[in-house]
Subunit: 138 residues, 2 copies
Amino acid sequence: MYTIKEVADKMEISEHTLRFWAKSGFFPFLKRNHNNIRLFSDNDLEWVKIVKCLRSVGTENKAIKKYIDLCIIGDSTIPERYEIIKTTKNKALQQMEELKKQLELLDYKENFYQNLIKNNLKDEWNPMNKSKPEEEAV
Amino acid sequence: MYTIKEVADKMEISEHTLRFWAKSGFFPFLKRNHNNIRLFSDNDLEWVKIVKCLRSVGTENKAIKKYIDLCIIGDSTIPERYEIIKTTKNKALQQMEELKKQLELLDYKENFYQNLIKNNLKDEWNPMNKSKPEEEAV
DNA sequence: TTAACTCTTGAGAGTTACTCTCAGTCAATT
DNA sequence: AATTGACTGAGAGTAACTCTCAAGAGTTAA
């Protein structure tokens, strides 16, 4: 059993966020001790993991709650949960592609600046820069 | 020259967001026509591109404004801009790793549900499920 | 054993970055 | 002349945190 702080450290999620998620109903089996303090079981950690996963792919909290509720309902909702996971996975793959594209731009910019620095900031008028250098030097 | 709607379509950013970014000072050279309507040049599109890139990697708007301002100041800020790009790139690479990790979990879940469905939802008591199936079936 | 320190709690205010609504302007079409 | 459609700014609304605060336990140090 783990305190909220331990879970926060272990999962790299702030205590605030964990409390917020708990209040949102994301950890339906989370128990408290006699002092009203939340104690996370290993099973609760699995819920934290899946919530973190869904959030990191941009799933809205409302949709996460829906998934959690489907889990609680039980086996009859397995096909629906399967669809949600598939959709989420596709979203993640799309994000991967987008991130790759942005990394290409960042690579380009990195090289661009590196060259300027290597040449002692003197090639302001390389082909990248047209009539008004300061407008182009994005 | 492009209207805000054309840019919105081309770049897959909402008009609202573009106006919000414009008001935030992210497009310092953006001009208007005689009817006060924003007209984006190809150069303005480059600014949209870099802002979209920085945002998609989670850079705060305040930090983006700072980068834009450095661009406007000119050549003396090249080393600083270079550092920003490098830091941003590292952040993007980290996000890539995180996304890969989450994709593994989603793959696992996908297979898990697929198996349940293939076996007509009958293997509720496979090793994944302990004493209380509904608590484990995350 | 009292004081200091740490961890936790809930309530609620504050923040970021949109996102949307609305009333109004303007140009072009019917 | 009336309608349509793109655009405008101001400002309200929203999601998901993020932070502050006062209060209450338990642990440790003098």
